[in-house]
C-alpha cells in the first residue's frame, strides 16, 4: 500500500513548477542552456519522451452507435440505414460513413462500452474523466492529464485547447483539470475560433507590450529570491508563457492554410475546427478537443444522423488522411467519444433516447491498434455479449496507447491518486 504520509515536498520529486517557475522569474525559461536539465532525471525523461498528442472529437449529446460504428441492419432496432463493408475483413459500419469504411484498418474500434450512465451531465463527466468524481475530489479530465503528461513546462503553445461552440450541453462537459489545478485548465473557445485575450489590445504598442512584461519580470526578481512555492512558480510560468501563446494565435488562423487544404476539411464549423486542431497538434499542443454538439436525437434520430454523420465521416476521414500524410499519425491519436450512445428502441417520434449499456467509440493513431475491433453486442444491440468495456478500462487503454502508465499516481496532499480507478487494466489487444 502506498504511504499515506507522502509529504509532497519538493525534495521528494522534481517540481517542474518550482523549477521552471524560478527560472522563468529570472527571465531565462526560454533558454534552457543555463540549466542542468540532464542532471535532473525526471526532467530529462520528460523532454525525451516521444510527445504524443490527442484530438478528441467529442460527439456531444450522444451520437448513435447504430447509425455509425455498430449497425444492426434488418433488426427491428436497426433503423433504415444499411451496413457497408469496410477495408477490415468482417467489419461493417453504417452506410452513412462511406469514407471511414475505407479507412477502418487505421481505426481501433470499441463496440463493447457499457458505462451505465445515461445522464448527460454525469455521463459527460464520467466519459471525460474515466471515473466518477468523489464528493470532495474533482478528477482531472483526459485533456488535463494528457496536458500534464505531454506538455512541456516552458511550452510556447497552450497545453489543452477545447472548442465547444454550440451552447447545448456545454456546461455538462466543461474541460476540467480537477485537482491538477489552473495550470492544466483548458483554453476554452466557445464563441469563435480565436482564443480570448490572445491578441494584444490596440491601445498598447508591440514594443510597450513586450517591455512592460520585462519591467514586470524585473520587479519580481527580488521578491522570488528566497521564496519557494509551487503557486509562485506557476505565476511566473503563466506570465512567462504569455508571449509564446500570443505567438500561437496564427495556429488558430485557417487562412494560413492553402485553399485546397481548407476545402478538403469542408466548409462546416466542425471541419474548420478540426483543421485548427490539426494545426495545433502539429505545433505541439498535447490535447485538443473539438466538441460537435448536439446529437441528442430524441425526435427524428435518422434524419439527424443522416445530416450529421456524413459530416463526421468526412471530417474524421480528412483528419486521419491529413495526419498520415504529415507523418503525424504515429504520435497523434484521434478519439471519437460521447457521453453515451442511443437506445436500440425507436420511439414514436422516430427518435432514439439515451443509452449507455452497449455503445461504441474509436481511437485512431498513436499506439492504438488499427483494424482492431473489441466488444460485441447482441443482434439487436441491446447488450454487450463479449468483451465489455467500462469507463475505467477505456481510459486505461487510451493512456496505454499514449504511452502513459495508467497506474501512475498523482498526489493530492499526501494521498496517492492513480490515473485510473484501481484494478482497471488496459485492453492489451488494442495497444500496439
Amino acid at each position: 500500500m502506498p504511504s499515506p504520509f507522502f509529504c509532497g515536498s519538493d525534495a521528494h520529486r522534481v517540481s517542474r513548477r518550482g523549477f521552471f517557475g524560478a527560472a522563468a522569474a529570472a527571465g531565462v525559461a526560454a533558454d534552457m542552456t543555463g540549466l542542468n536539465v540532464l542532471g535532473s532525471p525526471a526532467l530529462a525523461s520528460e523532454l525525451r519522451r516521444g510527445q504524443k498528442r490527442v484530438i478528441l472529437l467529442w460527439l456531444a449529446g450522444g451520437s448513435s452507435q447504430l447509425e455509425t460504428f455498430d449497425p444492426k441492419p434488418g433488426a427491428p432496432t436497426g433503423g433504415p440505414f444499411r451496413a457497408i463493408q469496410t477495408d477490415v475483413p468482417g467489419l461493417q459500419i453504417s452506410e452513412l460513413m462511406p469514407k471511414m469504411a475505407t479507412r477502418m484498418k487505421d481505426v481501433c474500434l470499441i463496440r463493447g462500452l457499457n458505462t451505465r450512465n445515461g445522464d448527460h451531465g454525469s455521463g459527460a463527466k464520467l466519459m471525460m474523466r474515466g471515473r466518477r468524481d468523489e464528493p470532495s475530489l474533482r478528477y482531472p479530465d483526459l485533456g488535463a492529464v494528457v496536458a500534464r503528461e505531454m506538455g512541456r513546462a516552458d511550452s510556447q503553445v497552450p497545453d489543452y485547447v477545447t472548442f465547444y461552440t454550440q451552447t447545448e450541453g456545454r456546461s455538462f462537459a466543461p474541460g476540467d483539470s480537477g485537482f491538477l489545478g489552473a495550470r492544466y485548465a483548458p483554453m476554452e473557445l466557445t464563441t469563435n475560433n480565436t482564443p480570448e485575450f490572445i491578441r494584444r489590445l490596440d491601445s498598447i504598442t508591440e514594443t510597450d507590450h513586450r517591455e512592460r512584461a520585462e519591467l514586470r519580470n524585473m520587479l519580481g526578481r527580488d521578491f522570488v529570491r528566497g521564496r519557494t512555492s509551487d503557486a509562485l512558480g506557476s505565476h511566473a510560468e503563466a506570465y512567462g508563457r504569455v508571449r509564446g501563446i500570443m505567438g500561437s494565435e496564427r495556429l488558430f488562423d485557417v487562412s494560413q492554410e492553402s485553399q485546397r487544404t481548407r476545402d478538403r476539411y469542408g466548409p462546416t464549423q466542425f471541419g474548420q475546427q478540426a483543421l485548427i486542431a490539426r494545426r495545433l497538434v502539429e505545433a505541439g499542443v498535447p490535447f485538443v478537443r473539438v466538441a460537435r454538439a448536439w446529437w441528442d436525437s430524441h425526435g427524428q434520430n435518422f434524419e439527424t444522423h443522416q445530416e450529421m454523420v456524413p459530416e463526421l465521416d468526412h471530417v474524421m476521414a480528412t483528419l486521419i488522411d491529413d495526419l498520415k500524410e504529415r507523418n503525424l499519425l504515429n504520435d497523434v491519436m484521434v478519439v471519437t467519444l460521447a457521453e453515451f450512445g442511443r437506445t436500440p428502441g425507436i420511439n414514436a417520434s422516430l427518435g432514439r433516447d439515451h443509452f449507455a449499456s452497449a455503445w461504441s467509440m474509436t481511437m485512431t493513431g498513436a499506439s492504438a491498434k488499427g483494424g482492431a475491433v473489441w466488444g460485441r453486442t447482441d443482434p439487436r444491440g441491446q447488450t454487450v455479449t463479449h468483451e465489455e468495456v467500462n469507463a475505467a478500462n477505456l481510459f486505461a487503454t487510451i493512456y496505454a496507447a499514449l504511452g502513459i502508465s495508467p497506474h501512475k499516481n498523482y498526489y493530492v496532499g499526501s494521498r496517492p491518486i492513480p490515473l485510473v480507478d484501481p484494478g482497471a487494466e488496459p485492453i492489451e489487444a488494442l495497444v500496439k
Binding site: 454550440q166 462546416t268 414514436a348
Partner: protein, 335 residues
C-alpha cells in the same frame, strides 16, 4: 358528385395494433384493400372490410424501410430507403420488377390520377416519373438543392399530382416547393415555406422539420404544404403542426395555419373532393388529425390519433380514411 362528408361525421371504425412502424399506405383497386410500407422492410396487404382484419406480407424484397407505396397498373409500387422501386402485381401476387431508382433514400411514391405514371422522390433530390406499365423512367425532375444553405445534405420529402394529372409538386427539407409541368418536365413555379425548417445555428448546430407533404386543391388553384413550425429545442418534435396554403398561379402564400392544439409534424395533407376542407395528419410522440376550413381559414375539427401518423389514404369520396403510423393502423368513416 355525392355529398362530401363533414369533418364532424368521421368516426373511428377500426384500430389495429401492428408490431412495426407503417410509413405509407395506398388503397388498391378492390374495395377495402390497402397496402402498407413498413419498418421491417416489408409490404403488407390487408382487407380492411373483412370481419377479422389480417395484415398479410405481400413481399419482403426491399432492403430497408419501405416509405412509399402507390397503386397503379394493377401493381403496388413501393419505394424504400434502399433506393429501389418494386412493382408487385396484386392480382397474381407476383414480383414484376425491381428498379434501382435513386442513388439515395426514397421518401415517397405516388401514382398519377389516371394511374399511367408513378412519381418517386428521394434524398438524391430528384423526382422521377415512371411509366407505370413498363417501369421505364419517363422524366427526371431536378430543381431542389442537394445541400442546405449551411452545407448539410438536404432531403426531398413529398410529391403529389394535381387532380387533372397535369401538374406535379415536390417539397424539400428547407421548405422549398416546386411545381412541375408533367408533360414537359419543366418547372412551372416555386414557392417557399421556410417556416417549416428549423436550422439551429448556435445551440445544437443541426436542423429539424422540413416541408413533408404537398396537396393540390381539386380545382388546381391552391397548393397546401404540411410540416412543422419553428422549434426551440430541436431534440424533439415540439413545434406546432403547420400548414401553409399557396395560390398555384403566383406562388403567393395565402394562409399559414399553426395548430393551437397539436405539436408535431404534418406528414400528410389532402383536400376534400369539393375543396371545402383540408385534412392534415401527423404527430410526434402521439398523433393527430385536423380538418381545416379552406374558405374560412380556420380549423374545423382537431382530434387526437392514438399514434404518430406517417401517412393516410382515403377513397375518392372520403368514405374511408386509413391512417397509418407508429405501431397502429386506424380506420375512420363518416357516420
Amino acid at each position: 358528385m355525392p355529398p362530401v362528408p363533414t369533418p364532424e361525421s368521421f368516426r373511428q371504425t377500426g384500430d389495429h395494433n401492428r408490431p412495426v412502424i407503417t410509413f405509407a399506405v395506398a388503397l388498391g383497386d378492390r374495395p377495402g384493400r390497402a397496402y402498407f410500407g413498413c419498418s421491417d422492410f416489408k409490404v403488407y396487404e390487408a382487407d380492411l372490410g373483412a370481419a377479422k382484419v389480417e395484415f398479410k406480407e405481400l413481399h419482403g424484397t426491399h432492403g430497408s424501410y419501405v416509405t412509399g407505396v402507390a397503386f397503379a397498373a394493377g401493381c403496388v409500387v413501393s419505394g424504400a430507403y434502399d433506393g429501389k422501386l418494386v412493382w408487385w402485381n396484386t392480382a397474381e401476387n407476383r414480383h414484376v420488377r425491381t428498379v434501382d431508382a435513386h442513388g439515395r433514400w426514397v421518401r415517397k411514391v405516388v401514382a398519377s390520377p389516371d394511374g399511367a405514371l408513378v412519381a418517386s422522390v428521394a434524398d438524391d433530390m430528384v423526382c422521377k416519373l415512371w411509366d407505370a406499365e413498363t417501369g421505364r423512367v419517363v422524366k427526371e425532375l431536378r430543381g431542389h438543392a442537394e445541400r442546405t444553405p449551411t452545407h448539410f445534405p438536404s432531403m426531398l420529402y413529398g410529391v403529389t399530382f394535381s387532380h387533372d394529372g397535369r401538374k406535379l409538386a415536390t417539397c424539400d427539407k428547407v421548405g422549398k416547393v416546386v411545381i412541375w409541368d408533367v408533360a414537359s418536365g419543366n418547372q412551372l413555379g416555386a414557392c417557399e415555406s421556410p417556416g417549416m425548417y428549423t436550422w439551429d445555428p448556435v445551440q445544437r448546430l443541426h436542423s429539424i422539420g422540413g416541408a413533408r407533404t404537398v396537396a393540390f386543391s381539386p380545382d388546381g388553384t391552391l397548393l397546401a404544404v404540411g410540416g412543422i413550425g419553428k422549434i426551440g429545442n430541436i431534440d424533439h418534435l415540439e413545434g406546432k403542426a403547420r400548414v401553409e396554403v399557396f395560390t398555384v398561379a403566383d406562388g403567393r402564400s395565402q394562409w399559414v395555419f399553426e395548430s393551437d392544439r397539436y405539436r408535431g409534424l404534418v406528414n400528410k395533407l389532402q383536400f376534400a373532393p369539393d375543396g371545402s376542407w383540408l385534412l392534415a395528419a401527423g404527430g410526434a410522440g402521439e398523433g393527430q388529425f385536423e380538418f381545416l376550413d379552406v374558405a374560412a381559414k380556420r380549423p374545423k375539427r382537431q382530434d387526437k390519433l392514438t399514434m404518430h401518423t406517417h401517412d393516410f389514404a382515403a377513397t375518392p369520396d372520403f368514405g374511408t380514411v386509413v391512417y397509418v403510423g407508429h405501431n397502429r393502423v386506424v380506420v375512420h368513416k363518416p357516420a
